[in-house]
């Protein structure tokens, strides 16, 4: 309960792909993000709603498969559930896979919070030939059960009505009894929980979780709290293992599994269909060991078409008025400090609007669409083998794909990866993926001055570099990637409103994070120019720029610009060399352009990316990422210099 305002907290929790966010959206209006890919709601979403004239605080938690967290998105869900103690839990399940979903329902009931079960996607269940009797299930579980179809809003009113009554009555779920020997062990552990120990929810739940959570850090913590408790837990685990010939956490999971399965059989009538449905037949093609890759290739090609054919003309269209505005400003403000400040501001805002958005919005739309229909997890499946070659697995594909738009949200999306090792390797590789800003540079410099085929070659080389680096980086990790375990949800007809909402949400968080950095960076650059800091930088960097890379000294300062914002380097390059775009070849050679682009593309990730890496995996890795990018950029561009320019 929100203490200050007395508004009850209602949390929505469920397994990924159960339609929880769709249901939440329906109730909340326009807030949470939904998708058909495990783990989109990586942060929880709050919203205040008024039902029957009363105010409620509703919270959408990330999808989680169980209450034993495996990845970071799941940790968010559980921390909230355990620490903030909601007043009511709405457990959303995919009715078409009720047998499995009920396992988590039973786990949630152990919390003994007031709870309601939403049997969502009941239409899908019927299509699969599963007929559920909600009343019977309600009787067995002892909590209200309501059938819903969130995408049509069916059953939502009843769900809310019953939820509010449940909340008002403080109705607690039934305590389900497990096998005697398991129950005995739980009771033994319960007795050793000290009075001053702050249990999560209730002592029984704490005891169960203590037995289940067999992890070194947890065991150490318990030992510090109470040695007798630690001993009783150890003893319970040992005896359960001995009696059941399986680790204790599996014994407990099996209790839930058997109970859930029994309930499923008691309340459902399943009639198996012989004929494959339309979606299944499409799926056979999408996942086909041969055709599947052709379709995937088509998707990737359309991905690049968006970058090259759609986005870049829009960018030019948007940039033109900005350049004009700049001209007007310089007439108006002269060459004083005001001009440089205003110019920096315009460049910052303009860069955000004209350079990032034309690439980013179409890519986000396409990604959301692919997610919503359920194709993205299929990409994970198809690409798994290839990703194994670079030391990762299929789930890392979607962060990489997002990286082509912008590296910042790509780094955020690594939260869907379970192992920290995979998360770190993926995060270190993302800055090598050419984002929209770098694509702009590659197009403007290589495609325009050297030739379009060279730009394609550059892209291919870039992909090869990512693969080689992935392989090299994974050598430094002792552990192996845990491997792919990815649910493949049923294919769905996409919901346009879901797709749009998701794009809106991602765009909002991207703008909130990256734009301030972009604009501040540009203003600082304006000041640099005004105070002629650029000359000092040029001299300081000349050993690298001139001697290692064989480029004109004046380009030194553009590298600093590149750190703040990659695409600014391009504009500044012309400024630094004192020529217009069309005369560039009079001062630098094609070969020098190649070397410069290579260095610019791979050296230090931009400021916003470094900041997000710092935030996501820590300072140490952010520094390492900078170091890695810089040394790779130096090495490759030096080699390129030797090949193209000579000593």
């Amino acid at each position: 309960m929100n203490k200050k305002e007395g508004i009850p907290d209602i949390v929505f929790i469920g397994q990924p792909n159960c339609g929880k966010s769709t249901l939440f959206n329906f109730i909340a209006g326009l807030k949470a993000v939904t998708s058909n890919f495990p783990g989109t709601t990586v942060k929880h979403t709050h919203s205040k709603v008024s039902v029957r004239g009363r105010l409620f605080n509703i919270i959408d938690l990330p999808g989680t498969y169980s209450l034993n967290p495996a990845d970071e998105a799941e940790k968010v869900a559980l921390t909230h559930l355990f620490v903030e103690k909601p007043d009511l839990v709405i457990n959303v399940v995919d009715a078409s896979i009720l047998g499995r979903s009920l396992e988590m329902t039973l786990e949630l009931m152990e919390l003994e919070y007031p709870m309601v079960l939403a049997l969502n996607m009941i239409d899908m269940a019927e299509k699969k030939g599963i007929e559920i009797d909600p009343e019977k299930l309600e009787e067995m579980l002892g909590i209200p059960v309501v059938s819903t179809i969130a995408s049509h809003g069916r059953g939502v009113k009843e769900l809310l009505d019953r939820a509010i009554s449940c909340l008002d009555e403080g109705l607690k779920p039934k305590r389900l009894v497990w096998s005697k020997d398991v129950e005995d062990k739980i009771k033994e552990v319960e007795e050793f929980i000290p009075d001053e120990f702050k249990s999560v929810a209730n002592n029984r739940f704490t005891a169960i979780k203590s037995i289940e959570l067999d992890r070194p850090s947890f065991n150490r913590m318990i030992q510090e709290i109470s040695l007798p408790l630690k001993n009783s837990i150890d003893n319970a685990r040992e005896e359960l293992q001995r009696n059941h010939d399986a680790p204790a956490y599996e014994v407990i999971a099996a209790e839930r599994h058997h109970l859930a399965f029994k309930m499923f059989e008691d309340c459902c009538k399943v009639t198996r269909r012989k004929k494959a449905s339309f979606a299944e037949r499409i799926d056979d093609i999408l996942m086909h060991p041969f055709l599947g890759y052709f379709i995937l290739l088509g998707v990737f090609i359309s991905f690049f078409l968006i970058i090259f054919v759609v986005a870049s003309p829009i960018e030019e269209l948007l940039l033109a008025p900005l350049t004009a505005l700049r001209g007007v400003l310089s007439d108006f403000l002269g060459k004083g400090i005001l001009f440089y400040l205003a110019d920096g501001l315009i460049q910052g805002i303009g860069g955000g609007i004209a350079i990032v958005l034309p690439y980013f919005i179409p890519l986000l739309l396409l990604m959301s669409f692919l997610e919503d229909i359920g194709y993205l997890s299929r990409v994970g499946f198809l690409m798994d083998t290839l990703m194994h070659k670079i030391g990762l697995h299929g789930k890392s594909v979607s962060p990489f794909m997002l990286g082509f738009g912008c590296n910042v949200p790509a780094v955020v999306s690594t939260r869907i990866l379970e192992s920290r090792r995979d998360k770190i390797i993926t995060t270190l590789l993302i800055p090598f993926i050419p984002c929209s800003a770098r694509t702009t540079i590659i197009l403007a410099l290589i495609a325009f001055y050297v030739g379009p085929l060279w730009a394609v070659g550059f892209y291919l080389f870039n992909m090869l570099l990512v693969a080689v680096l992935g392989r090299v980086i994974s050598l430094f990790f002792k552990t192996q990637s845990p491997g792919l375990i990815l649910e493949i949800p049923s294919l769905k007809v996409p919901s346009i409103s879901n797709v749009l909402k998701k794009v809106y949400f991602q765009l909002k968080s991207f703008i909130g994070f990256a734009w301030p950095i972009l604009i501040a960076g540009s203003v600082v650059l304006g000041l640099f120019q005004f105070f002629h800091v650029d000359r000092v930088i040029n001299i300081a960097l000349s050993p690298i720029v001139e001697h290692v890379l064989g480029l004109p000294e004046e380009l030194g300062v553009t590298l600093i610009f590149g750190f703040l914002r990659k695409e600014l380097s391009l504009i500044m390059m012309l400024q630094a060399l004192g020529v217009g775009y069309s005369q560039l070849l009079t001062v630098v050679s094609q070969q020098q352009i190649i070397v410069f682009t290579i260095f610019l593309s791979f050296f230090i990730p931009c400021l916003s990316t470094v900041a997000i890496i710092w935030k996501e995996i820590g300072r140490k890795w952010a520094f390492l990422s900078v170091l890695l990018n810089t040394s790779v950029a130096l090495l490759i561009s030096f080699i390129a210099r030797l090949i193209f320019i000579g000593i």
Binding site: S66, G99, R100, D214, H257, F261, L484, I488
Partner: protein
């Protein structure tokens, strides 16, 4: 007894044993893959890739990497 990667496609198989690390087993469990479940191999990737299994007991489809799939042992359902 054979592992999932050596099993034929579209045949009813019963999971007889799941070995491997605790985290992986937990993950499989929570995704609805248990011992004694009846599963079916749905499709296989071309280049020695992951396997896709349809769990006929719980009604879910899960893609499993080769490494993990080799630790899941199955038998034909009589």
């Amino acid at each position: 007894m054979m592992s999932l990667i050596n099993s034929p496609r579209r045949k009813q198989l019963r999971i007889t044993n799941i070995s491997g690390g605790a985290e992986v087993r937990r993950r499989l469990f929570s995704l609805g893959i248990h011992k004694d479940d009846i599963v079916e191999l749905d499709s296989r990737s071309m280049f020695r890739g992951p396997v896709l299994i349809r769990n006929n007991t719980t009604g879910t489809s899960v893609a499993i990497g080769r490494g993990i799939a080799s630790k899941i042992m199955v038998d034909f359902v009589e």
